[in-house]
């Protein structure tokens, strides 16, 4: 009796394991459902919390056996697709500040080019994995703490039913040259600020294989003081172009973009995002944000632990010329 149950279990397992798809650039065969599930799971999170989720998907892809360089580059390709579907909805509602996006984009192009060059250099030095891990630990803990503080504050605010205060901070940034008027964002600031933010996020996103919305959105709200309505649409708008640029350069210099993997993740991701969006409309937002902060901080903690703990294997093998 117990024997047949085991036989059935292994037969079903075999069937699932048998549905492998060979990823031509990653050069590994992985289960289709596993990849679709990863895409969908991260899509649900992104629909719920309004962030891309790339910062969770990249480490997961590496964990299931996709080479880190391919995971990062392919993720950029997938972000193009998810950002397009996101921005079209915002565009229809007039929530995209093209001028602001364009200025950020100029910085973003430059930053991501520097990022791809850095990526190639670090890869040859054998330090890319370390830099990716450290970049994740720093940004994830920063974002996680910020989200946690913000959601606790907002939870208190809800009770007093007070509108979030918004004031234009007058600080050193006001003294910068090249002032521009951004009508939709209701700002009159130096173009150097959004361009600089675009530049820094561009470097990070090329190194980490993320769209960088989770960096851009808080920077646009807290550093630029943008009108919140246009923030998401504008960040998605510039992410499309920056990530298309990164995709091109990764494909051109490193040959690490896996179209097939990107497509599977996109299919899982868009379906997941719809589910997440619908769930998010029904669930209380601030509590969710707090939960998300905990998820992010846990991920950061896990990555930090891996950096600090004695590694199971001290040695890493690098095959010259990528094995070909």
């Amino acid at each position: 009796m117990k024997g047949t149950a085991v036989t059935w279990a292994t037969a079903i397992l075999d069937w699932f394991l048998g549905l492998q798809i060979y990823l031509p650039i990653a050069e590994v065969a992985l289960n289709v459902f596993l990849l679709l599930g990863l895409g969908a799971g991260v899509g649900v999170l992104s629909g719920l919390f309004g962030v891309g989720g790339g910062f969770l998907l990249t480490p997961l892809l590496i964990f299931v056996g996709v080479p880190p360089a391919v995971a990062v580059a392919t993720q950029s390709n997938q972000v193009v697709a998810s950002s397009v579907s996101g921005v079209l909805a915002h565009w229809a509602r007039g929530n995209v500040d093209v001028k602001m996006g364009g200025v950020m984009l100029a910085g973003g192009m430059l930053g991501s080019s520097v990022g791809v060059l850095l990526f190639t250099l670090l890869k040859t030095l054998g330090q890319i994995d370390l830099v990716i891990a450290i970049a994740y630990v720093i940004t994830l803990s920063g974002i996680g703490i910020m989200m946690a503080v913000e959601s606790i504050r907002a939870l208190r605010r809800v009770r007093k039913s007070m509108a979030p205060k918004k004031l234009h901070q007058h600080n050193w940034a006001q003294g910068l040259p090249f002032k521009m008027r951004f009508r939709k964002s209701r700002l009159y600031i130096s173009a150097l600020l959004p361009a600089g933010i675009g530049f820094i996020v561009g470097i990070m996103s090329a190194l980490m294989g993320v769209g960088g919305a989770f960096l851009l959105v808080p920077a646009m709200i807290y550093l630029l003081g943008m009108a919140t309505g246009a923030v998401i649409g504008t960040s998605l708008f510039q992410i499309i172009f920056v990530q298309a640029w990164v995709t091109f350069w990764q494909a051109n210099t490193n040959q690490t973009v896996d179209i097939l993997l990107a497509l599977i993740l996109t299919i899982g991701g868009v379906v997941g995002a719809q589910v997440g969006g619908r769930l998010g409309a029904k669930l209380p937002g601030e509590q969710l944000r707090f939960l998300m902060a905990i998820v992010i901080l846990t991920t950061a903690g896990g990555l930090l632990y891996q950096l600090v703990a004695h590694p199971a294997d001290l040695y890493t093998i690098v095959i010259a010329g990528g094995g070909h």
Binding site: P24, V84, S85, A244
Partner: protein, 226 residues
């Protein structure tokens, strides 16, 4: 006409890595001119490899020292009709590179005191990915002349030309040998994508972007109504 002491062949000299590739089995079979034992060594294409070792720097584990090795086979498989130690003395096994401890990997800097430790780590890593096999596959004899063995090719194998070396052993000596090639290559849609990505990288990048733009647009259309 003098008869060869050993004749061996593979049931298939070409393994195609297609989109659904999850490893393959290759049948090696042959015949000997009389009683004896057979050892098979399969080696993949060789490459230069660098081994990096992590050290603790300021509380964080960082790749510090790197040592290069030349001539490292991508894959190493072994099959024998009896345990190797019973068939050949140690110096002969070393000469024919039988057993993973006998694979001749050339350290770029042989004087480095760590070259032994790094070499061992390299072998362990290859074993972990199933590319070096420590336990020989069992060669079966049918009667005392006909032999066969199933070689398992893992899904992670790199492409290239592999060589299967077949040795006939009698009285602690190799008395006959034959090599037969095995080509592992990518075929079909996946191979075309890989080739295109490497030959026309810029065009591939543009196509990747266009596919993503289109996929995003389709997703928008699919979910727009409600």
């Amino acid at each position: 006409m003098a008869q060869a002491p050993l004749i061996a062949d593979l049931d298939d000299h070409l393994i195609a890595i297609t989109t659904g590739f999850a490893g393959a089995d290759v049948l090696l079979f042959g015949t000997t001119d009389g009683p004896g034992d057979v050892i098979v060594v399969v080696k993949g294409p060789t490459a230069d490899v660098e081994v990096l070792r992590k050290e603790r720097v300021g509380g964080i584990w960082i790749n510090r020292k790197g040592l290069g090795y030349q001539n490292v086979p991508a894959v190493y498989m072994l099959a024998a009709s009896k345990p190797l130690e019973e068939l050949l003395p140690e110096d002969q096994r070393a000469y024919y590179q039988m057993g993973i401890e006998n694979i001749r990997m050339v350290p770029v800097d042989p004087r480095d005191s760590d070259s032994k430790a790094f070499g061992t780590a390299l072998i362990h890593a290859k074993q972990k990915f199933g590319l070096f096999s420590d336990v020989p596959a069992r060669i079966l004899f049918i009667g005392d002349r006909l032999f066969r063995v199933n070689l398992r090719v893992p899904s992670t194998v790199p492409t290239g030309t592999y060589l299967a070396e077949v040795y006939l052993v009698r009285d602690q000596k190799v008395v006959g040998a034959q090599t037969t090639p095995l080509v592992i290559s990518k075929i079909g849609f996946g191979a075309d994508i890989y080739d295109f990505a490497h030959r026309h990288s810029a065009a591939y990048g543009v196509i990747a972007i266009l596919v993503a733009l289109f996929a995003g647009w389709m997703a928008h259309l699919a979910f727009r109504r409600r």
